[in-house]
Subunit: 190 residues, 2 copies
Amino acid sequence: MANNVKDILEEMKNLSELMLDLGYSSVFFKSKDIANEVLLLDEKMKELEQELYMHLLAASRGSPNEKLVGIIEIVESARFVGRAAKNLSELTLKSDSLHPIIKEAIEQSDETIARAHVGKSSVLVNKSLYDSKLESELALKIIAIRRSGKKWIFNPGKDTKVMEDDILIAVGSKNGCAKLRRIAKGRKIR
Amino acid sequence: MANNVKDILEEMKNLSELMLDLGYSSVFFKSKDIANEVLLLDEKMKELEQELYMHLLAASRGSPNEKLVGIIEIVESARFVGRAAKNLSELTLKSDSLHPIIKEAIEQSDETIARAHVGKSSVLVNKSLYDSKLESELALKIIAIRRSGKKWIFNPGKDTKVMEDDILIAVGSKNGCAKLRRIAKGRKIR
């Protein structure tokens, strides 16, 4: 059980960090797409939390165990962060107009964040991130991949293979992100 | 004032992300040094928050302004995250013994986090991060630098110069982090 709990804790940590990153990004880059990803991550967080408590309950055999306090505090912190990220996303989803200060920040920045869905006919399918040259040629950083609906890959490495139906979350120039969307859709060979 | 508010918001965002990163790191790598850095960042966060509200108050000329709601929600989220990070650090600071599951996670991982104080006689003084070769030769990633007590540099670039008295926060192998501490102290040329 130790390994399971450790893995779940690490995943909650990664999840909360990604949620925060995307939550802020949704506001600063005014992206409802990204805000919706945060809500999906929040679902995942709830599942992990339940799973973890099941393990802990089994470990303590129903009786309270003060040694578990440290673990519960980590879980609470991750959830706290997740909630903050969710608030940021909801702010993005419910606001039709942006505060002028945030609007100005967006216009001044060339950087943006994109969510791209990989279609069947995309040249990216079955290529590693390295071979896809997204990072080297489009100067994009792929910060996460959502696979088969609810599986998340955090900070994918250069050997990570892109698969059909993946959702790629990328940070880069507005131009690079627009190109990524076209390449992922399969509309553009390059 | 727009620029000031924008800059402060961005700094709060960076600060909260760094706090979270260090908060988790303090627990997972059992580092009271890093936990203490989080408490310093928390002070900085409070200062920024006060500064921001002064600007907003001036902008609204004392009367409430519903357009500011979006901004206040961002501030609240950053503070929320900061509080979670602080809780993680306090967990590290107050616990003498680690939960066995966390202990095991630490022992299994070769990665760690280090805080290194740059002494007067260190070869790092006045060198850029690139020239210092910390990243290339020791495979360390410098994630933040604290300068002259309370100024923070987030995600320093390769051109960022190291200065005497800097506090470097680095992530890397246990071996690399130990070497960094010696080099920073000036005890070792390399």
